[in-house]
């Protein structure tokens, strides 16, 4: 069907929107000029728990059109996300919760009015600290992404008790914030009973449905435009309050309203990765064969919503052991609601699992690579290929042995894994004049390369050069697409596009529409992309500062649709993994009931200078029986295991095991 001549899939095609992005022409949500635009600024709760009794505004603040709060806000319909029920109750669920909205004719006026507003609040004692022994903890029914909280095979307890060698350790990961560079933003405008939203999100179809529910409208009356998105990493996967606030403000004032969240508000209103306390025990025979694993995660959610970071789930899939027990407990605190953040569950879970494996290797006197080879058959090929390219062999396993000047050096490794899935989507293909085609699907491109990859897929299916394909995405009026999340975008949308193209070719005519719902239901379950991460670090004996000299990822993620954009996804994930290992932490002040480092000067993400030598490679082999492209998702696997590889290297360099993240200089002095 596909002639080799026009084969676009697999080629390193540059991003279609590249010229628009480097020239400043690419438009993000807050960048659509409107007549008589008004600006929203949120007022956030200064207490973590309590009741808001009144809101008093300073009449001297000019240019204010309206101040909305629960005392005067219109009624909104409920959705499954209580965070969207803004101003519907006097209860305060966490510090930073939006409790009022100022709409003014200028940004400056809106911000000032919000700063001087007086809130009459009856504060109550709050509870914001996660502890593994918190009296209110409970075992939830399910954890993200809707899998059982508890699992068990065999008898882990007995097997651990009788294992020749065991490790029994607790790893603590801090709360983390997604912090895409583009803050969550919406411009809302009502056109009669139709709602138009320019919104930064990962799922235009879903946002339209949700906002429709909130305002009691059918989804087709909500038009969501999401041409370009400045990153999301999970935090834009569903409608966030900014969309509701903009629409509300616009409804009340009769003007278009821009609601761009200040960076500081992104630390409370749009989700985060919940902190975890992970107790992990691994048992092995003397010759390094795993016999049992027990992985128990303690985490937190908000009063409003149960979202459970599923850190123990990944342990169900990596090492086939006869005796396995995993579980989760959660406690609901007066804190913001956690949400998806790149590889929710897998990313923190693999830190505990793969650091504990390193500890086991040390205890066994085994090479960490050999230990993995013995116990993770699925990873054998990436392990061997990765170790070869990184230059692992001949490594002296003893910690704190290598020093060059003031720098201790060391290497570490860890496995990576991520489930391969697809979700139902619909695509439409139209034949235009001159052998050109329009491909339409309500997908989004957050920088993943989706736009480009879909064009490549369509070009091959239609047997035309990529230049003949016109991609339309980022608009909820296009055929319904699944969320850009769970590393499932390309698989889900590509499948629909493939189907539509094939349909058009086989049936003829000018247009074909293809819905994958049925096919996806029958997809092969339990498939994973796998990988291995290798790191080399140096640690200053003077300052304790850690530098990652080399970071390498080797992946098996099925067929790589575009090596150029794939590389960017892998490296981007690994760099975020570096941040997770070394820099990122939202610091809780229990007395104030909030994270106090809520900006980009104090919440550190890696800079240019932090990224030295970094590379990724892959075994490029289509996986049969998954989706027609033979691809697996690649957006998240880079952050799974890379932090553990770095932490293991830090131990190899210094002999210090850091079990509470991030690894910073104070822990190494």
């Amino acid at each position: 069907m596909t002639s080799m001549l026009t084969r676009a899939v697999g080629a390193p095609l540059p991003r279609l929107e590249g010229p628009a992005k480097v020239s400043g022409a690419a438009r993000y949500a807050a960048e659509y000029p409107q007549d008589r635009m008004a600006y929203g600024w949120i007022v956030q709760s200064p207490v973590a728990r309590g009741r808001l009794d009144a809101v008093l505004t300073d009449p001297a603040e000019e240019d204010v059109l309206v101040v909305l709060w629960h005392g005067n806000a219109p009624h909104l319909e409920q959705t499954d996300d209580p965070e969207l029920a803004v101003f519907q109750s006097d209860r305060i669920g966490y510090r930073g919760q939006p409790v009022a909205l100022v709409v003014a004719t200028s940004l400056e006026a809106a911000r000032r009015a919000a700063q001087v507003i007086h809130l009459d609040i009856a504060a109550e004692e709050h509870d914001v600290e996660l502890r593994a022994d918190h009296p209110d903890r409970y075992t939830p029914e399910s954890v993200v992404p809707d899998v059982p909280a508890v699992s068990g095979t065999g008898d882990a307890e007995t097997a651990l008790a009788s294992a020749a060698v065991t490790v029994d350790v607790t790893y603590v990961t801090p709360p983390l914030h997604n912090n895409p560079m583009e803050p969550h933003a919406t411009i809302a405008r009502w056109d009669g009973q139709d709602l138009i939203l320019y919104d930064s999100n990962q799922h235009p179809s879903g946002i339209a449905e949700t906002l429709g529910t909130v305002f009691g409208l059918p989804a087709e009356r909500v038009h969501v435009v999401t041409e370009h998105v400045g990153g999301g990493f999970g935090s834009k996967g569903s409608a966030r309050p900014n969309a509701v606030l903009a629409a509300l403000g616009s409804w009340v004032t009769g003007r278009p309203v821009q609601m761009a969240l200040p960076r500081q508000a992104m630390f409370s209103m749009v989700g985060h990765r919940a902190p975890t306390v992970q107790h992990i025990r691994i048992g092995a025979s003397q010759d390094g064969v795993l016999t049992a694993i027990d992985h128990q995660t303690h985490t937190q959610s908000s009063r409003l919503f149960e979202f459970v970071e599923s850190a123990s789930v990944v342990t169900r899939d990596v090492y086939p052991v006869p005796h396995l027990r995993t579980g989760h407990q959660v406690v609901r605190l007066d804190m913001p609601t956690p949400r998806w953040m790149r590889a929710p569950g897998e990313a923190p879970g693999m830190i505990a699992l793969e650091c504990a494996m390193d500890e086991l290797a040390e205890r066994l006197g085994a090479d960490p690579l050999d230990l993995r080879l013995r116990n993770a058959p699925r990873h054998e090929r990436v392990l061997r290929a990765g170790a070869e390219r990184f230059g692992w062999s001949g490594r002296d396993p003893r910690p704190r042995r290598r020093r060059s000047g003031e720098w201790w050096t060391g290497t570490g490794m860890a496995l990576a894994t991520y489930p391969a899935t697809a979700m139902p989507s619909t695509a439409r293909v139209r034949a235009l004049a001159d052998d050109e085609y329009e491909v339409a699907i309500a997908a989004t491109d957050l920088g993943t390369g989706a736009r480009t990859i879909l064009a490549q897929i369509a070009a091959d299916e239609l047997d035309v050069p990529v230049g003949r394909i016109h991609i339309r995405i980022g608009d909820s009026t296009l055929p319904r697409a699944s969320v850009a999340g769970g590393s499932s975008g390309s698989a889900s949308w590509g499948w629909a596009v493939t189907g539509a193209c094939r349909e058009l070719r086989s049936r003829g005519g000018r247009e074909a529409v293809f819905d994958t719902t049925e096919l996806v239901r029958e997809q092969k379950e339990g498939q994973h992309a796998c990988g291995a991460h290798f790191a080399e670090v140096r640690v200053s004996a003077v300052t304790g500062e850690i530098r990652v000299s080399r970071l390498f990822g080797m992946y098996d993620a099925g067929r790589i649709l575009n090596p150029r954009t794939a590389r960017a996804q892998f490296l981007g994930g690994m760099i975020m993994g570096m941040g997770m290992a070394l820099h990122e932490e939202s610091v809780l002040d229990p007395a104030q009931g909030t994270w106090v480092n809520h900006d980009l000067a104090e919440y550190h993400i890696p800079t240019h200078a932090d990224v030295e030598w970094i590379d990724a490679a892959w075994l490029d082999e289509p996986e049969t029986g998954l989706n027609p492209m033979g691809s697996k998702g690649i957006g998240e696997i880079g952050i799974v295991g890379s932090p553990a590889a770095i932490l293991n290297a830090v131990h190899h360099a210094t002999g210090v095991r850091i079990r509470d993240l991030p690894a910073r200089l104070d822990k190494l002095l």
Partner: protein, 324 residues
Amino acid sequence: MKTFEYRTAAGLAAGLEPGAVFLAGGTNLVDLMKLGVATPDVLVDVNRLPLHEVSGLPDGGIRIGSAVRNSDLAADHRVRTAYPVLSQALLAGASGQLRNMATTGGNLLQRTRCRYFMDATMPCNKHRPGSGCPARDGDHRNLAILGGSPACVATHPSDMAVALAAVDAVVQVDGPAGQRSIPVTGLYRLPEDTPERDTVLEHGELITAVDLPALPVAARSTYRKARDRASYAFAAGSVAAALRVADGLVADVRLAFGAVAPKPWRAYVAEEALRGQPATEERFRAAADAELAAARPLRDNAYKIALIRNLTAAVLTALAEDVR
């Protein structure tokens, strides 16, 4: 941000009405105004004043106009050769863009990065006197181990000021009450009971210049900063040092610590302990400890003691080896 009246400064000693402040690069002031922490009624822009020159002083020192940008100063040839510590400190701070805006005067007078201070919704004695200091029991990992008080344990965040303190720089001030000279080491106040006041400057006093005295030892000087990521981060601890060794003995030494106190901390005790002593790593370490004996760390910032000790030893050892 509160509304304000904007005007350009009329002259050097013009003074300021109550509620008015000087605007230089704005990288700290505009930031704090947006946050609602600074709420001036009038902004008096000093950027048009003739304060943009770096010039020689009769004694061989250097005069730095207060509006000289951090990036220009760091690149200045005289500074790079006669006071490398200053160039290095400037380059270790902020980012290329910020250094292009930030001025010498503004850098000295930038305010603490204490996370409570920078959040107007938080209690903080520095931004709302009498409201308390949540940092003591809360987040203080990057706050003071030296010079703090029960009312405030903020650190002064400037890198530049640490280098200036080490080389005996003098701030030239002009105001309604006339001109005066203040050594950088005497510019800052410790918080005691009134942490809202950072410096000894009176309202309306304008920094016109910073003078660097002729100081031969400064030609062998260096600045080293440790931080939580490789760049674009405030110091976790830093050391500015200048050293002259003769016959294996410390002939002259200047030492200042950053990110440990409400001001750049000139380490007089350590300097005294070193003068005339063998220039060995062991002595350097011991001298740092002598200075740090006064440290009163809180729950989460004791690491700064080890950090400063190690940095001092490393920096002085490197300088001593350089000489040999």
